[in-house]
């Protein structure tokens, strides 16, 4: 369980996060949604302990993220940030291997090697394990980074817009693997992600947090939260949650551009 208590952050006189208090259950996929500039990435970085808040605290499994030592924190959560500018010249196997760093601190043991092998297999990276990350396509590269975060074997995996530059095939591929991870490992693994694709959030997330102007205006189970009314208010444009052959879909209603 993640507990956020009165989290506030101000940068350059502008409040980015305003007094956020949330309780997020373990086991499943949690999506943070909201319009551009709502503070979604900032909240994720703050929850990951990389940004210190002005006030408030974040507890993961009862432990304060900002008071934990770097290595202890790396055993609580793994992080995937938005695609890095410079990609290191490392092989896929080396990159995934670095996911084990907090466990072995430079001296990988048999368990670490076995886990890396297993993760490479699970993410279908065996064939490209000796290729350099730099030489991969955007979709394969993202898969390799998600595999690294998975190899870290932490209870929580935080992903910042993991689908932003991917085509539908690779987005679905990544989401399918994440869904598999949270369902397979007996509820020990949970995923928290900033998502722009509402359709994917609606279909895959168990829990949704709605952020607007730095405030969490709603948080709860997806079906309860993602309603036509709430989404329309959140994004200030008319959105309709409908039904297509029994599957929920989101469509714009009377958009201004038509």
């Amino acid at each position: 369980m993640i507990e956020i208590e009165n989290l506030s952050l101000t940068r350059g006189g502008t409040p980015i996060l305003r007094d956020i208090s949330l309780t997020i259950p373990d086991g499943g996929i949690v999506a943070i949604i909201g319009p551009n500039g709502a503070g979604k990435s900032t909240l994720l970085h703050c929850m990951a302990g990389l940004l210190a808040p002005d006030s408030g605290r974040v507890l993961i499994g009862g432990k304060d993220v900002h008071k934990a030592r770097e290595n202890d924190r790396a055993l609580m959560l793994s992080l995937l940030t938005q695609t890095p500018g410079t990609v290191p010249r490392l092989t896929v196997a080396d990159l995934v291997g670095f996911g084990r760093w907090p466990h072995h601190r430079g001296r990988p043991g048999a368990t670490d090697r076995a886990i890396v092998q297993d993760v490479l297999g699970r993410f279908d990276l065996d064939d490209i394990a000796t290729r350099e990350v730099e030489t991969l396509s955007g979709g394969q590269r993202q898969r390799a980074y998600v595999a690294m975060a998975h190899a870290q074997s932490t209870p929580w995996m935080f992903l910042d817009e993991p689908l932003s530059a991917l085509d539908p095939k690779y987005s679905h591929d990544i989401m399918a693997r994440l869904t598999q991870i949270v369902s397979q490992d007996g509820g020990h693994r949970s995923v928290l992600m900033v998502l722009h694709d509402l359709q994917i959030a609606l279909r895959t997330a168990n829990w949704v947090i709605c952020l607007r102007d730095g405030a969490a205006i709603r948080s709860g189970p997806t079906k309860e939260v993602m309603t036509s009314e709430l989404l329309s208010t959140l994004y200030e444009t008319s959105l309709h949650v409908g039904d297509l052959d029994g599957e929920p879909v989101i469509v714009p209603r009377n958009p201004a551009f038509l």
Binding site: G49, L75, L79, P84, G85, T86, R89, L90, P102, G106
Partner: protein
């Protein structure tokens, strides 16, 4: 193969010089012990040290076009050296060297802080910023030297060459061997720096401590080189780029190649400098600047083969 190449160069370096070793009038053993062996060791150590310093700054600021000569490190070391020469002219070499290393670290740390405000979009921007930053520090050093009549020192520190290396006057360079050992222990951590601050920290690395340690090693390597033989541009830029291009960025595997190649290039440059105008000499730094510039142009333009390696 690289090791054999270096051994060959070292052998040649021992045999070639203004005096003929096989001239029976001379005590060849003495020439070897006092001049040739120290000179060969100095070139190997300086080359390895500069190349290793290069790979560390490149990983720390995540930019392959940066090297210690573009981070204000040698200039800051010179300011420290001038300062200690003015305040305590009689200080032991080790004291001067320590002051130089500390001021080199301050200069490099200043560049590192500056680099965090340079947008990473255009990789050419950071080296340009470094060029200006180093230029400003260099101007301060020159001004200090000018008002205190020490300008000739600046000339000596700026041009790396090995003709003055004699037994008893280069031993500080062995600190580089110690630094190389320390760097080997830090190899994974330096590679992690290259993944960027967010990843390094979320993988449990104490980011600021690692950066400080890495830059400390850079400062010591550069400061000893400046103090003993004079600074040499391009080595820290070209060598890590060649290694990264061919063998990748995993430093635990490649650190020794960086050191070896750096040593080979500098020793080779010193050898060429000794031969082309025999019995006179051209500074190794001048020779390497020519070779380095050519290699660098090739690195900038040649497409990289997409190699697979394990």
């Amino acid at each position: 193969m690289a090791l054999a190449g270096l051994a060959l160069l070292a052998g040649a370096s021992l045999c070639i010089g203004a005096t003929n070793l096989w001239n029976t009038d001379l005590d060849s053993g003495l020439v070897l012990a006092v001049s040739r062996i120290p000179r060969t060791c100095a070139a190997i150590l300086a080359g390895a040290g500069l190349a290793l310093a290069g790979v560390v700054v490149q990983q720390a600021v995540r930019n392959r076009l940066v090297e210690p000569g573009l981070t204000g490190t040698p200039e800051a070391a010179m300011i420290g050296l001038l300062g200690v020469t003015l305040i305590a002219p009689g200080a032991a070499l080790l004291v001067k060297m320590s002051v130089a290393a500390i001021s080199a670290l301050l200069g490099t740390a200043g560049f590192f802080l500056l680099s965090r405000h340079v947008p990473p979009r255009d990789p050419m921007l950071l080296p340009l910023v470094g060029l200006i930053y180093g230029g400003i520090l260099g101007a301060v050093a020159l001004w200090l030297a000018w008002i205190t009549d020490l300008v000739q020192f600046i000339g000596i520190w700026q041009t790396g060459e090995f003709s003055g290396v004699l037994q008893g006057r280069y031993e500080l360079l062995w600190l580089i061997a110690v630094m190389a050992g320390a760097l080997y222990l830090l190899a994974d951590r330096i590679t992690l720096l290259g993944l960027g601050e967010d990843y390094a920290r979320s993988l449990g690395l104490n980011y600021h401590q690692t950066v400080l340690l890495g830059l400390g090693i850079v400062a010591i390597c550069v400061a000893v080189v400046v103090v003993t033989v004079g600074s040499m541009p391009f080595v820290g830029l070209v060598v890590p780029n060649i290694v990264s291009r061919i063998w990748g960025d995993n430093l635990r595997q490649n650190l020794w190649l960086v050191a070896l190649l750096g040593a080979g290039f500098v020793l080779g440059s010193d050898l060429i400098g000794r031969i082309v105008r025999w019995p006179y000499e051209i500074p190794a730094a001048t020779i390497f600047a020519v070779i380095g510039a050519a290699i660098f142009l090739w690195l900038l333009n040649a497409p990289r083969k997409t190699v697979a390696h394990g």
